[in-house]
């Protein structure tokens, strides 16, 4: 939410204000992250930058490996045969940054707070009978009814991961931010050097004992090979690139793809995707207001919108985006081509279909109010492109420009457009946040006031989601997910505008960058 000048929201920077520390062969990694860090509580925030920060400072009970499988991290786990009891045993040598040992009671408190704040976790907690520490090292989760996602959720790198923190911090009320950064993760947060929105500094946690297994995403041994990591915010991508080329900066988490040619010529700079998962751009309809309260009108719009055009304008180089029907991300286990008919054929053919459908829908010319964020580059182009297509199809469209913060707040209301309501807007989601029906907020079919903006209503989807949560086999899950996807297309839950890949650029001196669902700083050497 934040104000981002740059593409994909890279943020700002700050070069020289680090107080010069004696550099006794100390290795410092200077990184430009995609957004500035402004808040610290990784349980309260769904923002990617805060989650990345969370993985620096905090650890999770389970990790997720590159094959999307939960693996032990802070704890080993055992599941009872009836799949209703999960026993987690903390490994030895875990210590909080303040020196006190990690106890099961700390983890129970952390899980409970997570359960209050995270949407998917809340769903899980509805199935949980109890979470208890049975000793300093062991905690037990007992389910009241079957829930197939427990391990997946405990391991999830998507918003919000269940980060463990000391009990005294974990007991902070749900809506209040934790500001003291005491975790048990591989880095310590240097509070004195934190400048919100500008700079965050992490030093290696020398007390951290990595697991012995090889690193794989957030699972395995988190081996730290640098002494210090400094995140700098830079509001201008050009500035970041110059800093990278001059050696002031070692890594840019997200480079504007149009600017990649500038770096290609430089042998000292490497570029590539280190975050394995892309992000899906989603165009959301407001099901509560005309004209999109009419499913036929939504359908016409689904045909009118064009993935390729939206992506090409937003990203440019087709190497860095993917087009697919899957609402869960293109390359995840649940991916399928349900609803692909909405995307098939040439843009012209689909436009003809859209016109036809719109004519038949009884659309009365109610203008579509499309919200456009001007300060978030990755989302500023789609409304323009979409408005062009919708108008061609016969819609009347007003594009309302506003800053991202205004859009964010405005999207939560459903009053008539004249009183500040809206009909359509784009946003984007990291694939790890949408990769199954449990976590995918846009597939909520409850239509309730507390659901994420858009409020589609489908009893069938709700049934399917409940079934999904109970399902334990992948095949069963795939089948349910496929059906949900089809309904999401037919009912026009939202338009899947394609998936873009973020590209990082780094100094060739960096080796062993770890791929992950999010940018990870273990393994890397300089």
């Amino acid at each position: 939410m934040s104000f981002r000048f740059k593409t994909f929201g890279a943020a700002a920077l700050l070069a020289g204000s680090l107080s010069a520390m004696p550099a006794l062969a100390e290795t410092t990694l200077n990184v430009v992250m995609q957004a500035p860090l402004r808040t610290l509580d990784p349980i309260l925030s769904t923002a990617q930058i805060v989650r990345t920060h969370g993985f620096m400072v905090f650890d999770t009970l389970l990790g997720m490996d590159a094959k999307y499988n939960p693996q032990p991290q802070m704890a080993d786990y055992a599941v009872s045969a009836d799949k209703l009891t999960y026993t987690l045993t903390l490994r030895d040598g875990l210590k909080w940054h303040d020196g006190t040992p990690v106890t099961a009671a700390d983890c129970v408190a952390s899980l409970k707070r997570w359960g209050e704040n995270d949407g998917a976790a809340r769903t899980m907690m509805a199935h949980v009978a109890s979470i208890e520490a049975t000793s300093d090292k062991v905690l037990v989760i007992k389910l009241a009814k079957p829930f197939g996602q427990v391990l997946d959720l405990l391991a999830k790198p998507s918003p919000v991961p269940p980060f463990m923190m000391p009990k005294r911090l974990a007991e902070t009320p749900a809506g209040k931010q934790v500001t003291e950064m005491i975790g048990s993760g591989p880095f310590r947060f240097v509070a004195e050097q934190y400048r919100p929105g500008d700079q965050a500094v992490y030093v290696k946690n020398k007390d951290y004992k990595p697991r012995s297994e090889p690193m794989s995403w957030t699972a395995g041994g988190k081996v730290i090979n640098v002494d210090k990591v400094v995140w700098k915010a830079m509001p201008d991508m050009q500035t970041s690139i110059n800093a990278l080329q001059s050696g002031d900066v070692d890594l840019i988490e997200q480079v504007t793809i149009d600017l990649l040619p500038l770096l290609k010529a430089n042998d000292e700079i490497k570029t590539g995707a280190i975050n394995a998962l892309g992000s899906q751009v989603t165009g959301r309809f407001n099901h509560r207001l005309p004209p999109f309260d009419n499913p036929k009108v939504r359908q016409a719009a689904m045909y009118a919108l064009d993935q390729d055009q939206l992506m090409q304008t937003a990203v440019g180089d087709s190497q860095y985006y993917k087009l697919c029907a899957s609402v869960y991300g293109c390359d995840v286990p649940l991916a399928s081509d349900a609803g692909a008919e909405y995307l098939k054929g040439s843009a012209k053919e689909r436009m003809a279909k859209a016109k036809e459908l719109l004519k038949a829908s009884g659309y009365d010319g109610t203008p579509v109010l499309m919200m456009q964020p001007t300060d978030l580059t990755i989302l500023s182009t789609q409304p323009i492109v979409a408005a062009e297509r919708l108008r061609e199809a016969g819609f009347k469209v007003d594009v309302a420009s506003m800053d991202w913060a205004t859009l964010q707040s405005r999207k939560n209301g459903w009053q008539p457009v004249a009183q500040g309501g809206w009909n359509f807007f784009f946003t984007y989601w990291g694939v790890s946040g949408i990769w199954n029906p449990t976590v995918h907020a846009l597939l909520d079919g409850s239509g309730s006031d507390t659901a994420w903006a858009g409020w589609p209503k489908s009893a069938r989807v709700e049934e399917l989601r409940t079934a999904y949560n109970a399902a334990t086999s992948l095949d069963e899950q795939k089948k349910i997910a496929r059906e949900i996807q089809q309904i999401a297309f037919d009912e026009g839950f939202y338009f899947n505008a394609g998936e873009f890949q973020s590209v990082a650029a780094w100094n060739a001196k960096l080796k062993n960058l770890q791929p992950g669902p999010i940018t990870l700083f273990w393994g890397v050497t300089k």
């Binding site: 001007t374 300060d375 323009i384 408005a387 309302a400 420009s401």
Partner: protein, 290 residues
């Protein structure tokens, strides 16, 4: 030497305006301004494309026979956008200058004439002036959704105190003129007196101030767009063309430079015109900054 009091002082503005042939810079400024106005008015005829027409396949192309100045990151024709941009920029300038005068003039007249209101009103104006205009504008643009009118209002509000101060100072000075005393003695009531004797003295400086506000409003609009809180990108303005172009500055700096050149020339001309007007309307102010 009582002759040192300016002999032209009593002469009419209109007369002085046409007294001497204009300086060559003024002539040039007028030519540029006329060109910009023509650009704005006849934008549909001059432009090669619809300024909003996208072509995803033609993003960031260099200048060519088809795209005279190249294309932007949406594949839109930069030349056409710059031509259309004149409309918004001129509108913003006019809106701000006229709006600020329409609101500020009566307030200034009142503050200058009625001493009892003067104190409170001027403290309020001081307060408004103390808030840096750009911060105020950023906040206001965020307040209502970004749009032409919002931007105009946001830039106009900080400009109002300038007008109020200028008018008030003029009124207070004019109040010392004995012709105002004379009018009082002739039984002229305050309303008519302000309208007939005080208002006219403020017109010439207001025209001059108006041109400076006009120019500075266009600049502020550009700065707001640059900071990401300007007019939405659907409507091209020189400011948001530059703001979008700056992302691609390293690839094609002309995305920034072309609108910047046109913008700067336009503002340069308005400022030159303002200087010329000021020198003619108020010879005592010669060479004074706005």
């Amino acid at each position: 030497m009582s002759a040192s009091s300016n002999p032209a002082q009593g002469a009419l503005p209109r007369r002085r305006l046409l007294d001497n042939p204009p300086h060559w810079t003024t002539a040039l400024a007028v030519i540029v301004l006329v060109a910009v106005i023509v650009m704005a008015v006849f934008a549909p005829l001059l432009a090669n494309f619809e300024p909003t027409r996208l072509n995803a396949a033609m993003r960031l192309k260099p200048a060519s026979d088809i795209y005279w100045l190249g294309t932007d990151s949406f594949g839109r024709d930069l030349y056409s956008r710059v031509v259309y941009g004149a409309r918004v920029s001129l509108l913003v300038g006019a809106g701000v200058a006229i709006g600020a005068i329409v609101i500020g003039l009566p307030l200034g007249l009142i503050a200058g004439w009625y001493r009892s209101i003067d104190g409170v009103l001027m403290r309020m104006m001081d307060g408004l002036m103390a808030i840096p205009g750009i911060l105020l504008a950023i906040a206001i643009v965020a307040l209502v959704r970004g749009g032409l009118l919002t931007v105009i209002i946001a830039i106009m509000i900080p400009a109002i105190p300038q007008v109020v101060r200028l008018v008030r100072a003029r009124v207070i000075a004019a109040r010392e003129e004995t012709y105002v005393d004379a009018a009082v003695l002739l039984g002229t009531r305050p309303g008519k007196l302000i309208r007939k004797h005080l208002l006219p003295t403020t017109i010439a400086p207001l025209i001059v101030q108006g041109t400076y506000m006009y120019a500075s409003a266009i600049l502020t609009e550009a700065a707001l767009s640059f900071l990401g809180v300007g007019i939405g990108t659907e409507v091209p303005s020189w400011g948001n063309i530059m703001a979008e172009g700056r992302l691609y500055f390293a690839i094609n700096p002309w995305l920034v430079f072309w609108p910047a050149i046109v913008l700067s020339l336009c503002i340069l001309s308005i400022n030159l015109l303002g200087d010329a007007l000021r020198d003619r309307l108020d010879p005592k102010m010669q060479g004074r900054a706005p």
